[in-house]
């Protein structure tokens, strides 16, 4: 059955491309089928899932048994549905291209999250990247060709670095799938050149997730991409890198420090770059799309923090991996909703300059409410999905920590000792907490500029939202609230 999660969108994309089926409708139908299939597959009890995935007998080795697979598949199908339902293309041709691309990106992401074979895992992700580039180049905002070109080169290089890392790892472990690699680790096999492999993997996966300082492609690309593409890339596809790192770390278990440990302190510095540096960059943005793009880059820092905590605890920190999973799900839904609403704001006001809008809340209260909800979720307000993830991640960083002499050396060590002997992860956590304040500053300011105050010139143009617009946005909003009250821990 899992194979249908991949085949349905591909067939739908083929129908749209070759038979000129209506873009949005076909894509919505396919996304709805995927939604049902995906929810069934994810929620099915263990015994049924066994037969679901094995009876179809495809040699593609699709599985939901990996620790993060289920939650990522859930995220993918939810965002895909909202993305195709809320699509506002300028004409029928563009609508078809957008629908095909959205379906292909979704296929690639779902395929990667379900692949046990490491080469297929990599291949599916590459497949999803290509439509992203083409869509930004063809239908993007602003200097689209330049932006698409930068992203292509950046991610092409990152993919090659990643491929080298994965191949090196697989060749040295003599295992080409996650399952066999876990067996190799059990048998006590470890790669010889761990530091090289870890560096390649962190840079390769990291650049795909926009880890500082390899993040410069991301914000302009999201700002430029058409709304459904930005939703799917920022919300779903980007999580591929974190998914890969966490899955490998999980597989290596109590040997993960031996693999990634030599770069953990560097990783902490880089993720602080994400949270603080990119955070300040976000504050200075004057366009809504660029602000959201940067904010998405910034929030990746928290998930890397969970990864660093997991590595530092040598695989004993279950809380870190759970927090990361919940945060990935929450961030994916929130950023997708924000990009969806950005598309609607632009369609209404025909601008995204924060200064020229204002008072949109009085013209379009529904849009104001949804944007406020998504913004609050993004800041990390309790009872909304992001809070659960962020809180778990921050707590996990202190899990198992005891006041003792710090392991840090030089002046940092004396500072740490002053506070009762903090380790590098704990110090980084304290730095990263400042990110919550930064998020609050830019998100609340954006909300005030767009929706509050006197009605601005651009807001005058607003006419009204269609039913489908509201349905697509509410669809995501409901899950943000639902997962905030009742986090899907059963999927972990």
């Amino acid at each position: 059955m899992l194979i249908w999660l991949i085949l349905v969108p591909v067939i739908a994309a083929a129908c749209i491309g070759l038979l000129k089926a209506p873009g949005r409708l076909t894509a919505m139908l396919s996304a709805a089928i995927s939604l049902i299939l995906g929810v069934l597959a994810v929620l099915a009890p263990e015994c049924c899932r066994e037969c679901l995935s094995s009876t179809c007998g495809t040699p593609l080795q699709l599985t939901l048994a990996l620790p993060l697979s289920k939650i990522m598949v859930l995220l993918s199908i939810l965002v895909t549905f909202a993305a195709v339902a809320g699509m506002k293309a300028p004409n029928a041709d563009a609508e078809r291209s957008w629908a095909i691309s959205a379906l292909l990106i979704s296929t690639g992401a779902i395929g990667a999250f379900m692949s046990d074979n490491i080469i297929a895992f990599y291949g599916f992700h590459e497949l999803a990247l290509i439509p992203t580039f083409i869509m930004i180049g063809c239908y993007g905002r602003g200097d689209r060709r330049h932006i698409a070109w930068t992203a292509t080169i950046y991610l092409g290089l990152a993919s090659m670095v990643l491929l080298a890392g994965l191949l090196l790892l697989c060749a040295e472990m003599h295992a080409w799938s996650f399952t066999t690699m876990a067996a190799s680790v059990q048998a006590g096999i470890m790669p010889a050149s761990t530091c090289t492999i870890a560096a390649l993997l962190i840079v390769g996966f990291g650049a795909l997730v926009s880890l500082f300082p390899f993040h410069t492609w991301a914000a302009p690309a999201y700002a430029s991409a058409p709304a459904p593409i930005a939703m799917l890339h920022a919300g779903v596809l980007k999580k591929f890198g974190l998914y890969g790192l966490f899955t490998l770390a999980y597989i290596f278990g109590d040997k993960c420090q031996a693999l990634f440990g030599c770069w953990n302190n560097w990783l902490l510095i880089m993720l602080l770059g994400n949270v603080l540096w990119v955070g300040y960059v976000t504050i200075s943005q004057t366009r809504l799309d660029l602000m959201l793009g940067n904010s998405s880059v910034m929030h990746m820092g928290y998930i890397f923090l969970a990864f660093a905590a997991y590595i530092a605890s040598n695989g004993n920190n279950e809380l870190a991996i759970q927090g990361a999973a919940l945060l990935m799900l929450a961030h994916g839904l929130t950023i997708a909703l924000l990009f969806l609403l950005t598309g609607q704001v632009e369609a209404q006001t025909r601008t995204l300059e924060l200064d020229s809008m204002g008072g949109l809340g009085s013209k379009l209260p529904a849009l104001g409410f949804l944007f406020g909800l998504a913004g609050m979720a993004s800041i990390g307000l309790p009872l909304l999905a992001n809070f659960v993830g962020e809180f778990t991640v921050f707590v996990s960083c202190f899990a198992g920590w005891q006041p003792a002499a710090s392991t840090c050396d030089c002046w940092l060590g004396s500072v740490a000792n002053f506070f009762g002997g903090l380790g590098p992860v704990q110090l980084a956590t304290i730095g990263a907490l400042w990110g919550l304040v930064i998020s609050a500053i830019y998100m609340l300011r954006a909300f005030r500029n767009i929706f509050e105050g006197p009605v601005g010139t651009a807001s005058e143009r607003a006419t009204g939202l269609t039913k489908l617009d509201i349905v697509a946005a509410c669809f995501l909003a409901v899950f943000i609230v639902l997962f905030g009250i009742c986090p899907p821990t059963c999927l972990l």
Binding site: T58, P59, L60, Q61, N117, I119, A120, Y122, G123, F124, E126, L127, I130, I134, G137, C138, R144, R145, A148, W149, T152, I153, G156, L157, S159, M160, V161, L163, A164, L167, L168, A171, E172, W176
Partner: protein, 483 residues
Amino acid sequence: MNIVSTYTWCQFAPAFALVGLAALLILADALLPKLPKRAFAFIGAMGCFVASYFLYTASQPDFLGCIAAVATGLSILLAFDYTKICCESIAGGSNEEGTGEFYALPLVACAGILSLTQARDLVMLFVSLEVITLSSYVLAGYFRRNQGSIEAGIKYLVLGAMSTGILVYGTAWYFGMVGTFTLGHEVVFSAIKGGVASSPTLAVGFLVATAMLFAGAFFKIGAAPMHVWIPDVYQGAPTPTTAFLAVASKTAGFIVLCALVLPFAPFCVPGSLIGKLFIWCFALVAAATLIIGNMGAIRQTNIKRLLGYSSIAQAGFIMVFFLNVNGILENLVGQYLLAYALSTLAAFYAVAMVRTQRGSEEIAAFRGLGKSNPRTAFLITVCFASLAGVPLTMGFMVKMYSFVAAITAMGKWAGICWLLPIMVLTAAMGFYYYFKVIRAMYWEQAQPGHKALQVPVCTGIVLTLCALALIYLGTMPLLVSLG
């Protein structure tokens, strides 16, 4: 002195058949001047395909020869759609006079490649190689009304003659050092047994001979530093000839290189001085080829020149396989060449179509194809994506094998670990310049006056088949062997 041949006639049956067909075509050209030349192209191509079929179904399938024969057939068939340009550039106007040999000569060259695959000594190797090269000289300069073609012909002749000289000189040294022309383990073993220390003159002389023989093969495959002829000749030569040089002639080069390298297999183990020398030589050449090919391609705006540099770059990736000399070397090289042949030939068909209808070989001439010819543009995209190594195409699979080969070699010789970063960087450069064509097709507006292309039947079929084959062969191994 009795001369005992180590060959049998039937080994060369496909080669003789092709030469016979070429002779018949040339005779027909003289005796039946009314016969349309397209018939010649069709018959010649069919001859190649039949030959490749027999090679494939033979008791010992000859994979590389098969690729070369199919590639020759396809490059002759390319001339089928290209007759308009052929007539303009040979006789002027729409006069078909004097174009017959253009379709017959590739058959002779192909016969050379097929006999090359059977060669087990240097004389046969040299003779076969010259059959290919001499026909190629004529073909490269065949468009006598086209300055570029004449320039290409002269450059190829001068540089080719130099490489032949090196090859002959190397052969003479080889004979002088070991007293035989035969290639084999035992000859290498007797020459360098005990290394340089035990018989210094013999060993050093033998290494000089081998180096010169390698240089001759490097010229054919376009490996640095013997690559200088490629960009100019590829750009200037008639497109069908360029396709032949880029695929069939390169395959011939790799057949020679395999024949020269395989006898060294027992020496390529860690700890052997000869092995170390050999591996370092190949690693350096591969790295230089990768860097030159990829860096050179970045700035190109002419598609044929771009494909020329791309062929150097791809040769660099194939060279990496030679770091592990073992039984599956020929198989890996063959797989890479197959992926390269399918995508490059399809690319040349696209170039020929655009050249015939839009009169330009610049990348800019591809602009707007995504809108005006969406299906063709998609097929071309698949071919260039495969050249770049995008997953789910065969180009990705073979590039991955090349990476794995480098990693395996690094496991044995830690000294060459710098090769992997170079491969990663150059592969990423490939994304840049191959995507230039895709970018032109999808992101740019068509130039004024450029209408939608009429896709000729032959081009349509070949493009579709190549793209389907690339996707099929790129996904099947994932589903079957790795899965």
